[in-house]
Assembly symmetry: C2
Homo-oligomer: 316 residues x 2
């Protein structure tokens, strides 16, 4: 082994997932035993985390985006000389891709196409839309919202991002000057936008953010996509708007209640698409974590700043 190769351990899974071993190699590291490692990729929870770490260890990569449990367990305080990183941002891309799929399928009238069983081109022509030149408002500019923006821009959509501060949203692949408005002015967007993607956290302030009044101000061609939490939309108001044609349709990966019970109107309305909160299924989570690991190992090997560093003093 060349002295340049950085030894990286994997824990606690034995044998380690092949994807993680591959990610370490791709990043320029070499899979090693913990006792001689400079870095540890941890695929488990805080309960199984080693009490003692070797003096050689400089960095630990954790598998979760939110690390509240790790603070509660006191892990960071126990290893003050080790840099911990989370997987924040790693899992957003799959959810953003799902949101894009739901929006495109809606705008291009895919549900009716799948029910047709017959060519009827002239019937379909007037209903096939496009995102080109349309305004898409993304409520919430966290990981999912920021991942979605670069996916929508090449389609020629105009983006309005809604975040807390109203400061223009920034991030990888996001050009300067994305129109961004603060959450307390979200009321302005309903008559301006063509479509809405909900990607904001569930808080008391965002509960039923979209209700009867907001839906009534959207267009009959508007699609509402929710990949965040079901509680952000008033389900009864949404069902009424879908049934009356007040909006074009809804694409929902999350619902209230959840799971959505059998026989619920959202299962039968022709302009509702429901997926059972599966925009980020387990096998894609592992693949996304492996991508994150490969990127961070490369940064570690090259001595660059790691992605998603945890600062125990800030608490995240």
């Amino acid at each position: 082994m060349s002295e340049q190769v950085v030894p990286v351990a994997i824990g606690p899974t034995q044998p380690a997932p092949t994807l993680l071993e591959k990610a370490i190699t791709e990043g320029g590291g070499a899979v090693a035993e913990l006792s001689e490692a400079r870095a540890l990729i941890w695929a488990g929870g805080p309960g199984e985390f080693p009490e003692l770490l070797p003096d050689t260890l400089e960095w630990v990569q954790l598998p979760a985006a939110g690390v509240e449990d790790w603070f509660t367990a006191g892990i960071f305080g126990r290893h003050p000389n080790v840099q911990f990183t989370s997987a924040a941002g790693a899992f957003a891309a799959s959810v953003a891709e799902h949101a894009l799929m739901l929006l495109l399928a809606g705008v291009r009238y895919l549900p009716e196409h799948l029910r047709a069983g017959s060519w009827r081109q002239q019937d379909f022509f007037p209903h096939v839309g496009s995102l080109r030149g349309k305004t898409v408002t993304i409520i919430g500019a966290g990981g999912i919202g920021r991942a979605l923006i670069p996916m929508l821009l090449p389609l020629g959509a105009h983006i309005i991002a809604v975040n807390r501060s109203g400061r223009p949203v920034t991030g990888p692949g996001i050009p300067d000057g994305i129109e961004t408005i603060p959450a307390d002015q979200v009321g302005k967007i309903w008559t301006r936008t063509d479509h809405v993607v909900v990607a904001a956290p569930a808080t008391p302030a965002t509960r039923h953010l979209i209700g009867a009044e907001e839906l009534s101000r959207l267009k009959p061609s508007s699609w509402v996509i929710n990949v965040a939490r079901g509680t952000l939309i008033d389900t009864d108001a949404l069902v009424a708007a879908l049934a009356s044609g007040a909006i074009g349709g809804a694409g929902l990966d999350v619902t209230e209640p959840e799971p959505l019970p059998d026989g619920h109107p959202l299962w039968v309305l022709p302009n509702a698409i429901v997926t059972p909160h599966d925009s980020n299924p387990p096998q894609l989570r592992l693949a996304a974590f492996a991508d994150h690991v490969a990127a961070n190992v490369a940064r570690f090997v090259e001595g660059r700043r790691l992605l998603a560093p945890i600062d125990p003093r800030r608490g995240y």
Copy 2:
């Protein structure tokens, strides 16, 4: 009217489509009578085109991407001092968007979701895929293929473009270094790629480009998308591959035969998505033409090179 404002006429439609009037204004021109115009936006065919054009006229924008009929009608020879432009490239984006929609809907298992009528999250988890890290081969690097590349890259897909020359594909929004292979080596891609998008012209050389052998070398998770012409795929071989699970699915905006007759197996196979050649319906064509007009009027006003110039000596 300021002397800086460029007078642009519209023909032959009376009244002119509002979208085209708006496009001229957006581009920095002013809608004018033909007799005083420096440019003419023509929304009709060659048969109705004026015999005589005013001496003030410098540029004519035609509404079609292919202008063979205009050569046949001898229009360009009759007006040697006028620059003609076509709408080449203007209509590709909508078809590319449709291809992206079909591919995402397939990979994320949307058809089965729409049939479910019940939450069943655990059943769906293993079937929801992603384009992240997957290889998508685009056969044909004309307008549609080139428009699709920038839509796929932000999703984290690896692109293989197939064109005639094998020279790396270039175009707006396409970074350097896209892997590009010549059409005569297309046989290499079937075992390498995850998904295939067919966007090549129908010629004797491309007939049944995808048949039983090619399908047998793809993966059980592969989706085949066709937005070009039905004849590029052997329909019977495709039906067999879909029925046996040899590939993941097919998303088809074009079929052979077309229209696809009622009762055809492609209407009932659960992993086939058929849209009736409506990826570029009339209302989107007019909107796309208007965008092209706005861009070209802006270029004309600013004295820049026009998009899609027709060179009568080259014959296109």
